[in-house]
């Protein structure tokens, strides 16, 4: 009998935990690490339903949930409690960056018109510009965009890749974009550090081919409240 009571309260705790997890992530502005902001209100409504369900389970004599289900549903709650919330970053780029060819086509769908002021361009707009126009036309345009630092093994010490994910509905479909940046202080920044790139567009010649690149400096910043870009 004792055990049944315990299992019943555990069931209620897990249901409550799921609802509380969403409310907590929403309140601490972390829900957008996982999903497109257009689903925020839907999720808050869901969280309220789950919390009400937990309350209902507590007030009525709802039966205990079988242990295996409870154990499995504890996983997302345990993740929320124990694993530091982190946006997609340098750690997954290798899995989530599309090859050059494909991002070409992705971009063609995502963004078409760019403003004249290149200082207002995000990384998504920069990548679009690079694909759409002649690199010579972009030369010396001013850049001021944000992203996280990551590197590939072949990069010289003063060069980094500044990347950002584009998310269409949730992190499952995140696609990494990046631009090469040559900065005198490039070596000072660890992978995943968020930076603001300030510089100009200067294509570089590497191994005989012209590669888009920004030359300038990196300024360390806090992670933006919305770490992803939305097409």
């Amino acid at each position: 009998m004792q055990r049944q009571v315990l299992e019943r309260w555990l069931s209620i705790a897990v249901m409550f935990g799921l609802g509380a997890m969403i409310i907590f992530k929403w309140q601490t502005n972390r829900l957008n690490l996982y999903i497109h902001p257009r689903y925020t209100s839907l999720l808050v409504a869901t969280a309220i339903v789950l919390l009400l369900a937990a309350l209902g389970m507590a007030l009525t004599k709802a039966p205990a949930i079988p242990k295996r289900m409870l154990a499995l549903l504890t996983i997302p709650v345990a993740f929320a409690l124990l694993v530091p919330a982190r946006p997609l970053g340098a750690n997954l780029v290798s899995g989530k960056a599309l090859n050059a060819n494909s991002s070409d086509n992705l971009l063609a769908r995502w963004k078409t018109n760019l403003s004249d002021d290149s200082k207002s361009w995000t990384l998504l707009e920069w990548t679009t510009a690079v694909r759409q126009s002649d690199l010579a036309v972009l030369r010396d345009k001013q850049a001021a965009f944000e992203g996280f630092v990551y590197r590939t093994p072949d990069l010289p010490a003063d060069e980094v890749l500044v990347g950002r994910y584009v998310v269409t509905c949730c992190t499952a479909d995140g696609t990494a974009l990046s631009l090469r940046v040559k900065a005198s202080n490039g070596a000072d920044f660890a992978n995943d550090q968020w930076v603001r790139v300030e510089g100009t567009f200067v294509p570089a010649e590497i191994n005989g081919s012209i590669v888009p690149q920004i030359a300038g400096t990196l300024v360390s910043i806090e992670m933006p409240s919305s770490p992803y870009l939305y097409p």
């Binding site: 369900a53 242990k67 509905c169």
Partner: protein, 358 residues
């Protein structure tokens, strides 16, 4: 004899699983938490934290749709009587299957919601072909997906073709698997349990005998909460496993590897390769059908329209989480048949679209 030995084997397997799964889980959780993890394991911690972010993305995004499905299912359970269902559902297999594949227009649910609803209908005595066709078609054949697909592609023909193919495929599979066969052969015991007022669904089949003392919940609301919470946990457990698998694959198999496969294919089989690759991507991503049109759009241009159509048709029917959820309602052999047939028909739909749309 064979049956007995299989049972014995699965029992030892289960014991091992019960021992090792929590152990691996705790180890993974510790590594992901980054707490006192030695620095030479830091890259693994990084990967695992990315995995958790991807998992939470899929899981959190599916939760509203799963909850909506459970609410619809519980309301059907409460307000629809088996005799109502019998009076307007055609009893012949073709009619039932057709009815099932169109019923989604009334219940706007995605795959996470369609399966609990399907099971509830089956327990109310719905014919098996109807249950199968509904589970497969409802994620696409519903107003929300029609609208989101039209908006994403800016062309209502894409939405109509998607819905058309889905109806034909679900109808056919409903007939092939469900017609002329005993319900017992394809449905799990739980979806066979007659759904009357005294509901025992919370006596889970894995839980052994239903031994807890039955404090009959007083009042309708109490009953709704008891049924709803049990069904929520039952479906959500598959969502957790499915999201974990999908997130693991996404973390360790680069998406670009699949896409490179597509780029390198040439010649006669090129359209087929594109179709199969995007179907694999659909399974891997396990994104909800109400939102996948925006994603599919981003593949257009990179893949031929036939492959994108196959993605749009196959993804909502079969992905990691929905396949697991299907096993709650249908026997394993029936689920395997559904997966194989759906894949086959989606390829055909893709090839037809390739010829018509290119």
């Amino acid at each position: 004899m064979a049956v007995v030995s299989v049972n014995v084997q699965s029992k030892t397997q289960r014991k091992w699983l019960l021992f090792f799964a929590p152990l691996i889980g705790i180890l993974g959780l510790w590594l992901a938490s980054g707490w006192l993890v030695p620095s030479n394991l830091a890259p693994l911690t990084n990967k695992l934290q990315g995995l958790v972010t991807t998992f939470q993305g899929i899981f959190i995004e599916a939760l509203p749709f799963l909850s909506a499905g459970v609410i619809v299912s519980v309301l059907i359970g409460e307000f629809v009587k088996p005799q109502h269902l019998a009076s307007f559902v055609p009893q012949n297999a073709f009619g039932a299957s057709m009815f099932g594949s169109l019923l989604g227009l009334l219940f706007p649910v995605c795959e996470c919601g369609a399966i609990p609803t399907s099971r509830r209908l089956l327990r109310k005595g719905a014919p098996a072909p109807m249950g199968i066709a509904f589970a497969l078609a409802a994620p696409v054949v519903n107003p929300i997906v029609l609208i989101s697909t039209s908006i994403a592609f800016g062309d209502v023909r894409w939405a109509l073709a998607r819905v058309g193919f889905t109806i034909v495929i679900a109808l056919t599979i409903g007939l092939i698997i469900g017609a002329g066969i005993k319900r017992e052969a394809i449905l799990t015991p739980l979806s066979l349990t007659a759904d009357d007022d005294h509901d025992h669904s919370h006596c889970d089949h894995d839980h052994g005998a239903c031994d807890h003392t039955h404090d009959q919940p007083k009042g309708r609301l109490a009953g709704l909460i008891a049924h709803g919470s049990t069904e929520f946990f039952e479906m959500a457990q598959y969502l957790v496993i499915g999201s974990l698998l999908a997130a693991t694959m996404q973390t360790f198999i680069p998406q670009s590897a699949l896409l490179t496969l597509n780029d390198s294919s040439i010649g006669f089989f090129a359209p087929l390769v594109g179709i199969v690759v995007l179907m694999l991507v659909a399974v891997l991503l396990s994104v909800c059908s109400t939102v996948d049109a925006f994603l599919a759009l981003s593949f257009l241009g990179l893949f031929h329209p036939g492959a994108v159509m196959a993605f749009l048709v196959f993804g909502p029917m079969i992905d990691i989480k929905s396949t697991l959820m299907l096993t709650s309602t249908f026997r394993r052999s029936a689920v395997v048949a559904m997966v194989v047939l759906a894949a086959l028909f989606a390829i055909i739909a893709g090839l037809i679209s390739y010829v018509v749309l290119v």
